[in-house]
Point group: C2
Chain length 344, copies 2
């Protein structure tokens, strides 16, 4: 039995949606005509096209993206790799990517690395043949591995600068500079950085930005860490620094800052009277913690959208892949966790 002839399915096979054959049969035309009517309306007579559309709607027909996918590589699917779905930063990026993908008629395949290289690589390898492009938002992959994937499919990487792979960065440098200026204006002279994950490029960029700005403004910067970038990690940082608390602390991200602040308060240290604390990212918890956290706001949704648009562009025109990474601006959000250092 060929597909063209089949009326219904065999026993064990789950019932399927209407196929293009069903529509063609019901409309009394060839499948190619249905295909044309639905994808290139100009190439079919207005009358036939209207008829086919009506029949298709009646049957609840939706083109199976896997069909053309096999033939042309067009599956209408994009892979989005994050290192932890639970992290509000990725959550915002996912939201932005989702809406851009939906608008462009694409479906998002989510790969959560669960902070494990093995999971990340495994997931990516399995998804790769099925997707038209890949967005690496938060990856632990080596530059070599990324380059390899990029040879296979259009790839866009977030917050990391890999040779020949289009990147979308946040202006961590300016963010850090704004933080240092703010703290320096308040009167702080020594800053301690609470570092994020060891292997993270973002952490490197932020620390370097802090260091440079501190130098330019005549401040001293110290570094503590690495810590896992969670509330728990921030609490550990507080324990580590307990002996000699600085007057101002800048954390790799909001979660670390919040954990640090909470641990301090738990021990009777007041923020910002005794210690000023600054985060990075401006996720929701930064607004609801007491005192509200001074932090750097990143256009995370925009970044997600930009990533999707960049892969889509690269897919359409592989030659026009952007060589220079796009850098998105960030903005200091001053709240209540920073203030002048205690005199004396």
């Amino acid at each position: 039995m060929t597909a063209r002839e089949r009326g219904s399915r065999g026993a064990g096979v789950p019932s399927r949606s209407a196929t293009i054959y069903d529509v063609a049969k019901a409309a009394g035309v060839a499948t190619s005509t249905v295909s044309r009517a639905l994808t290139r309306p100009g190439r079919v007579s207005a009358h036939t096209a209207a008829h086919i559309r009506r029949v298709a709607a009646e049957l609840g027909y939706h083109a199976n993206p896997l069909g053309p996918g096999l033939r042309t590589g067009r599956t209408s699917m994009l892979a989005l790799v994050v290192s932890d779905v639970t992290n509000p930063v990725y959550t915002e990026i996912i939201a932005g990517a989702q809406s851009a993908a939906t608008e462009a008629g694409y479906i998002l395949v989510l790969i959560d690395a669960q902070e494990s290289d093995r999971y990340e690589l495994g997931g990516l390898e399995r998804a790769l043949p099925a997707v038209e492009g890949v967005i690496l938002a938060g990856t632990r992959l080596s530059d070599a591995a990324i380059g390899e994937a990029a040879g296979n499919r259009p790839v866009v990487v977030l917050n990391r600068d890999v040779a020949d792979v289009p990147g979308i960065l946040l202006d961590s440098e300016h963010g850090m500079r704004a933080i240092v200026e703010h703290l320096s204006t308040l009167g702080h002279r020594t800053l301690t950085y609470i570092g994020g994950p060891q292997a993270s490029r973002v952490d490197g960029a932020r620390w370097r930005g802090l260091l440079d700005a501190a130098r330019d403004l005549g401040c001293t910067a110290r570094r503590s860490g690495p810590y896992t970038p969670t509330v728990r990690g921030g609490q550990q940082a507080a324990e580590a620094l307990w002996g000699a608390l600085p007057t101002a602390v800048v954390a790799y991200n909001d979660q670390l800052a919040i954990g640090f602040m909470l641990a301090l308060q738990h021990r009777g240290v007041r923020v910002p009277e005794h210690v000023s604390v600054v985060g990075f990212d401006n996720v929701l918890p930064a607004q609801i913690v007491t005192p509200a956290l001074t932090t750097v706001g990143a256009p995370l949704r925009t970044q997600g959208r930009a990533a999707v648009n960049a892969v889509l562009t690269a897919m359409k025109n592989p030659a026009a892949v952007l060589r220079r990474p796009i850098t998105l601006p960030v903005k200091l959000v001053i709240r209540d966790s920073t203030g002048p250092p205690r005199p004396g």
Copy 2:
């Protein structure tokens, strides 16, 4: 040129991963033998199988899930529908579902409804032909629409009871009862419920649970709302109730409770001294807000995992689809936002 003959691809076509033909050619066997060696090792001589595996590894071959998908409906993909990726509740469910799916060799397609029926239905329709099963975690679809989808593919729905569709519920009823018992023991006699989204079944279940428990324990329950289940919505609730604040408030979820609490504190009302506040879900922000929020902890990751396992089961054996929904237990987490009412 057939696939069997091709050496390299045409110009415009993006380079692809190695296909089964490449492996077969390189190994000097038929494609079916490659397929067998990789999927049913028992059916191929040990020697040939080892050879094929070696060649496949060399070429970096990974089976394209779309191929068999076309033929057998096996695409190794599951669809996960959420109403808002940004909501920490869904974030946890996604994380649980992701890990279970990965373990089972499945890839997750994420559909973010962005709180819009149109987006949800559109996304689902486009994804449906490509996936083997569907998990509806947070849906605005009508029972009829869900039933229709379920006729097409195995579907599991979370936190909602749809006839003939396997469901995974949280024990909202017991959660609410635990809350009312807690508040009643503290001495509260009148409780105000801050309601979530109008159409939400979960909201209905929680309100009913509260009502029943209140009746049993001799308390009076009032309802305010609906509100959008966000921090902002909680602030609006505080404005609405400002004239006549109750001694105890139970919110549909943590976000509402937090917004409510923040707005109260902003106006000089103290929690829990003046008003006790209780949330639901126990998401991260509930721990970091001051005072830390008393709430009901739900096994969200477990729920995500259970959902994946349920679709997988339904896929394997369509006849054994569970008719009775699974109900997962919840647990009251007492923190600092609840206390005895002010005497007088």
